[in-house]
Assembly symmetry: C2
Homo-oligomer: 364 residues x 2
DNA sequence: CGTAGACATGTCTACGTAGACAGAGCCTGG
DNA sequence: CCAGGCTCTGTCTACGTAGACATGTCTACG
């Protein structure tokens, strides 16, 4: 591997000048720049990132801690972070950790610090109930404040609580007496936020909050919860903490002969791409993954590059509830066995290429 | 930030000994090791990865090129790669590139080389029809041979063609006269493999291969293709190149009054977690993401660490077709408007927690 | 008792870059 | 006409680690 010294020799300049060219520093004449680039091309030279990091003390890298498996939410966030990081000239290191792993988030963060990163993103943090994790670089958490001791902790929320409120309010507005909630694992802050939003709306409207159903984000857990609910006759509205669980729930209800939305309404959370295409099309709260990733990374990069500047205010993304066919007003108890209309029904996806019609709910 | 020199001074040893301790090298007495670790702890010392990389010439990092958005397949592969990399002591750098991006895969690879990686994984490569990409580290491609000039190119397939054959054969075995194919973008090798498997089976059995429908992996494109197919009366079996498109297709068929599987059977590809919970539960070809990631990374690490050793033979994962409720024998044309049974039907998911029943098909 | 060899630790240096600083040429304004 | 500032390029060095090699100690065995 040729070094900048080799390039310098061939171009007849100093090593420092080569460095200047490759860092786009000012004060290099066009003539010299060309000679250097020619020489580099000829030798197949590339900047050595290790040396660069060592000499400059900066890694130009952001570390990302992701959680769990290939869920749509975390995966979308990761892609959004990647795009935003690349746009700002940062590379990405990724460490995944599963729930209940001994090392956990703390281990992942430590690992990133050893690998060398200028900042850390914790995507969808969970509460591991341990002592604070010591970190010496700025940290961005998407979704919730984490338990860590960092020089600078930034948090950008997806507005989960507002979204959960909107979802719950939508069901109450349709006339349902109350709304059941199928929650995600409560160690995830994301799951807690949704639960909190749901509970807050019920309290505000003086409705009794039914016992919370516990899910694990999977469609299987939604299915299990659905079977439990179906065995009770009084459930007419459910808000599930993500779309997968909502779809599992719809399936279980359907198998039990309870039609959605005629007999029971179900609202999901995320707006996964499939949500518009399952039967019935799923009413769901859309998470602004891209906006969150973009805004969050902007904050993080600013904290890295201007440690003393005041962080700009966080702009909460708009709350977007996508109303499709899985919700409807409660209907008087009907006899079973009635003909099921499969094809389009009011509220279903139109025949035009399905665009999701957003309904902006007011916040708070 | 303290350096190994500081630790050495405090522990009363040489810098080299500190290095030995932190690299778990042999020939360090327990007593000295303890003193060093104590001193390091006290100073809050961490290995400096940049210096380490510079001095050793190794980055202990693997670069991953991913494609497109948060699709289930690529996301699953990425998680699998992360797990396998961590298990072998490698860190991960990730670069994403979208189809039709000017820089493309070549740009992503270049970026990784500059960042510094010991090996590269190209997850689900696409054909960009350019000249070979020069790479000076081993490269692993998951799914197809890429167009690159590397010292060592390894490929681990997901057995896409075999899976596509099994899916197509399943439909023919049920008695369908022929099978339509909803393909993915043909620049993706993964899409080509599936198309090839489908076409091969039809040819072998002397069936006419209908015109291929073009999709883009999205449920929306499956929906659009489904509307087109529904307008023709003769289609009884469709093999879609992924589950999202299959689900979009089922939706379109249902809206047009064509019941699945009674009027038309649909097979997907991937076995996404939702596949068992949509209505009807989707028959699909399961991709062995984890096995592929694990085996691929093993090969890659071996190529990195023992460049001269012969690569071990690639073990093709077993072909697994998961038969659920979206496929059935063709039925005599029935009158429309008949009562739809929503609850369990033969082939549907049982009431027990849905376990997917695999059917091993013989390869080739 | 001498020596081979395992064990334990140290010394010196290369790795390739960017930062601090210096100096030379040139232009401009008073 | 000259001071001051801008432009361009160079020299020297720090960054923190691991590799090559040297050295010293201790054990075992003929």
């Amino acid at each position: 591997m040729p070094s900048s010294v080799d390039v310098a020799r061939l171009a007849g300049v100093s090593q420092k000048t080569v460095s200047r060219v490759f860092n786009d520093e000012p004060y290099v004449s066009a003539e010299v720049r060309r000679r250097v680039l020619d020489a580099a091309e000829q030798l197949g030279y590339r900047l050595n990132n290790a040396a660069r990091m060592l000499a400059s003390g900066r890694t130009r890298t952001i570390g990302v801690v992701t959680l769990g498996t290939a869920l749509y939410g975390p995966a979308s966030l990761l892609m959004g972070i990647e795009r935003a990081a690349r746009a700002t000239g940062y590379a990405l290191r990724v460490v995944n950790t599963m729930e209940h792993e001994p090392e956990g988030v703390a281990g992942a963060v430590r690992s990133l610090l050893v690998q060398g990163v200028d900042g850390i993103v914790i995507s969808e943090p969970i509460d591991e109930g341990e002592e604070p994790i010591p970190v010496d670089v700025p940290v961005l958490t998407l979704g919730a404040p984490p338990n860590l001791a960092a020089p600078r902790v930034l948090t950008v929320g997806v507005g989960a609580e507002s979204l959960a409120r909107a979802a719950t309010a939508h069901l109450l507005d349709l006339g349902h007496a109350t709304v059941h909630h199928l929650a995600g694992p409560q160690r995830w802050y994301a799951a807690r936020d949704r639960l909190a939003g749901w509970r807050a709306v019920l309290r505000e409207r003086g409705r009794e909050a039914p016992r919370v159903l516990a899910g694990d984000w999977s469609a299987a857990s939604g299915y299990a919860a659905g079977r439990e609910l179906a065995s009770r006759g009084d459930v007419t509205a459910v808000f599930a903490a993500n779309d997968d669980m909502a779809i599992g729930m719809v399936r279980a209800l359907a198998e039990a002969g309870r039609r959605v939305p005629e007999d029971a309404s179900v609202v999901g959370f995320d707006d996964i791409p499939l949500a518009a295409y399952v039967t019935p099309p799923l009413t769901t709260a859309r998470q602004p993954f891209d906006a969150v990733a973009l805004q969050g990374l902007e904050l993080l990069v600013r904290a890295i590059e201007k440690p003393d500047a005041e962080p700009p205010p966080v702009v909460e993304p708009p709350v977007e509830l996508v109303v499709r066919g899985s919700t409807a007003p409660p209907q008087p108890r009907s006899r079973r066995g009635q003909v099921r209309r499969v094809a389009s029904r009011a509220g279903g996806e139109p025949h035009a290429p399905p665009t999701s019609k957003g309904e902006s709910a007011t916040r708070n």
